[in-house]
């Protein structure tokens, strides 16, 4: 066990994967010499060699396409894209090739690769550096989308993603990289892709979130508990496949659901959560599922970030409205 940040835990998980499976290679922009813009691959090239950890030209489609070819040939590549806002040049490779090869070849060829991407805002970054467009990936059949929010989940989910026989998009919440520390086992363990994690049990209302917004979700829950409300907090952890049963279980119990995400509201993952809840727990609902989300705008620059990101206040307010409905 070591007390680790999320960033350290990811670094450790990658080291473990490189150590335990020779099919694992890492590739991406600046991940070798500098250890990546967030230093998640720090030290790995020195330790595991230039034949395992590759700096690449600036070409996202190339990175994913090459990793895909390697995966078909039997390797387990872990590609890094620097920010989710720079993943779009690779969108075609992901949707038209990576996610489809098993289908297209009727299981003959498969693409066990992981695409790691830092995502989300809140650090006053430049344009395109704060995106959280998870919905456009969760909509792709054949791809799994995973989002850890704690150091120990990060390790378990990343090792599970690398082991997975199918491709996984692994989204890393930038704002949490160094925000929390937790005891993380040093052993090789995996956390199942799919099931959500009940972060906190409660009776009156369910707050559903993932990634960096878990911080606000937790804080809002704590605030609400102070005024005597019992809040159940769910960390989805996996957006595709989404844990519909887990969400419905909680919604049925509390009858009230608030879903929180950074992405714009329209056609975001909050819609899917709301759709599932009303589909399967309508008669348990005492209030509509409400969405506390980013607005339908481009993620703004530093000075307006506060206008955009869901705050603890907004979550608490919407939760209270939901409780009063």
């Amino acid at each position: 066990m070591s007390e680790l940040t999320l960033a350290q835990s990811l670094n450790g998980a990658l080291a473990t994967a490189l150590e335990s499976d020779e099919r694992v290679v890492l590739l991406g922009e600046d991940i070798g010499r500098t250890g990546g813009v967030f230093r998640i691959t720090d030290g790995l090239r020195d330790k595991y060699g230039e034949d395992r950890v590759f700096d690449t030209p600036v070409a996202e489609s190339g990175i994913v396409g090459a990793a895909f070819g390697m995966a078909i040939a039997g390797m387990h590549p872990v590609a890094e894209l620097q920010f989710l806002g720079f993943s779009y040049p690779a969108y075609d490779q992901i949707i038209n090739h990576v996610a489809r090869i098993r289908n297209r070849s009727n299981h003959r060829f498969t693409a066990p690769l992981v695409i790691r991407v830092p995502f989300g805002g809140g650090i006053g970054a430049a344009e395109h550096h704060s995106e959280s467009t998870e919905a456009i990936y969760a909509h792709i059949p054949g791809l799994k989308v995973v989002v850890p929010s704690t150091p120990s989940d990060a390790r378990g989910l990343l090792l599970a993603a690398i082991e997975d026989p199918d491709p996984v998009l692994f989204l890393e919440p930038i704002r949490l990289y160094r925000a929390v520390k937790e005891e993380v086992p040093d052993s090789y363990y995996t956390t199942e892709i799919g099931p959500l994690r009940v972060e906190r049990e409660g009776e009156d209302i369910t707050v559903v979130s993932w990634g960096a917004m878990m911080k606000e979700a937790r804080a809002a829950a704590a605030r609400l508990e102070e005024s005597g409300v019992s809040v159940e907090v769910l960390d989805l952890r996996t957006l595709s496949p989404i844990d519909a049963d887990g969400i419905v279980r909680s919604a049925t119990k509390t009858g009230r659901v608030v879903v929180v995400h950074e992405a714009p509201r329209t056609a975001g993952m909050g819609a899917e959560v709301a759709a599932i809840v009303q589909e399967r727990a309508l008669y348990s609902l005492t209030a509509p599922v409400r969405r506390v989300t980013g607005w339908d705008t481009v993620f703004p620059l530093k000075r307006s970030e506060g206008h955009y990101l869901p705050t603890v206040d907004r979550i608490v307010q919407v939760a209270q409205e939901t409780l009063e409905a």
């Binding site: 090459a66 390797m75 038209n96 060829f109 799994k144």
Partner: protein, 339 residues
């Protein structure tokens, strides 16, 4: 541009292969053309979905594939049935794919040929990744990727070429420049004099070859494959050829090209020149030709029969084909279908 066999069947001072090998290549081209004609006919009968014929491009495809080892990788396109077949992909699966059946994409075990890429340009980088993986684990397999003149305009072509050169991967890029991307002529596709010369901008050798000359194609691709196998890195080859038929069965070439061109190119037919050469060398008789054609027709008929005998695919298969283990969403949709 390298030509070894002229359209009239005469050769210069050398041929890279024996007469017997040449007979094999000829026989392969006859079989491929038989397949192509059969598919055109089937499509007209409504037995196939859209079909993209390769008539006129047999030399480029057969000549290239003949240089490969059975365990090499191939990433090719919707128009590369001849190439894929010569690399080990059964005709029956190629036909199955064209009937609209995903099972047609399932190469037999040991055949390292990817299902044909329908998107233009996206698959070349896969051959870079495949080759890179082989090099990393110390095998001497190479990856060959085939694509058209139009595909060279896609950004993915650029990234694939650059990655291959930067990481020195054993990849052979085979561009079949057949004059058109659907209706768009090669002369407008790019202002560079040749496609082969684009290789220079990546620090990679580029070779221009007569794509209707199976011996010349064989020679230049073999050289590239050998170099790649020995760690010498990638090569771009431009095989200049012509698509004699329409882009696909949904296309009408009269809208955009002069049929005189096609007539001119028919005179450069890749099969006929080899036939003339073989005849002159005593390696061709009308009886052998009849024999070849009969055998080819039988082989293709059998392949068609196999493809058409595949049972109707089920909805369950469709859902189960998405992941190794069905996810919770697939499982719940399976239940929904079952109910």
């Amino acid at each position: 541009m390298l030509t070894l066999i002229s359209p009239d069947g005469t050769v210069g001072d050398r041929l890279p292969i024996t007469l017997e090998e040449m007979r094999r290549l000829y026989s392969d081209m006859v079989e491929a053309r038989t397949y192509d004609h059969k598919c055109m006919a089937m499509q007209r009968q409504g037995r196939l979905a859209t079909y993209a014929p390769f008539e006129g491009q047999e030399a480029a495809q057969i000549g290239a594939a003949a240089t490969l080892r059975p365990d090499d990788w191939v990433a090719a396109t919707y128009r590369d049935a001849a190439l894929m077949w010569r690399a080990g992909y059964p005709w029956s699966l190629l036909v199955a794919g064209r009937t609209g059946d995903e099972r047609g994409g399932q190469a037999p075990d040991g055949v390292n040929v990817l299902p044909p890429s329908i998107t233009v340009g996206g698959h070349m980088i896969h051959a870079v990744g495949l080759a890179w993986a082989e090099a990393l684990r110390g095998s001497d397999r190479v990856a060959l990727t085939s694509f058209g003149d139009g595909a060279t305009s896609e950004g993915d072509f650029h990234e694939a070429m650059n990655f291959a050169a930067v990481f020195n991967t054993p990849t052979v890029f085979l561009c079949q420049n057949n004059g058109f991307a659907i209706s768009y002529p090669r002369a407008e596709q790019t202002r560079s004099e040749s496609i082969a010369m684009k290789a220079e901008g990546y620090g990679m050798p580029g070779v221009l070859v007569d794509g209707n000359d199976v011996a010349a194609v064989f020679e230049v691709v073999r050289e590239a494959v050998t170099r790649a196998r020995r760690g010498g890195g990638p090569t771009l080859i431009e095989a200049v050829t012509y698509r004699l038929g329409p882009h696909t069965t949904a296309d009408d070439p009269n809208r955009y090209r002069d049929e005189d061109d096609a007539v001119e190119w028919r005179e450069k037919d890749p099969l006929e020149r080899v036939r003339l050469l073989l005849e002159r060398a005593g390696g061709w008789t009308p009886e052998w030709q009849t024999d070849l054609e009969t055998r080819a027709a039988d082989v293709i008929e059998e392949a068609v029969a196999m493809a058409e005998a595949l049972p109707q695919p089920t909805a369950e298969e469709m859902l189960l084909r998405m992941y190794e283990q069905p996810t919770s969403s697939i499982e719940s949709q399976l239940r929904e279908i079952g109910s």
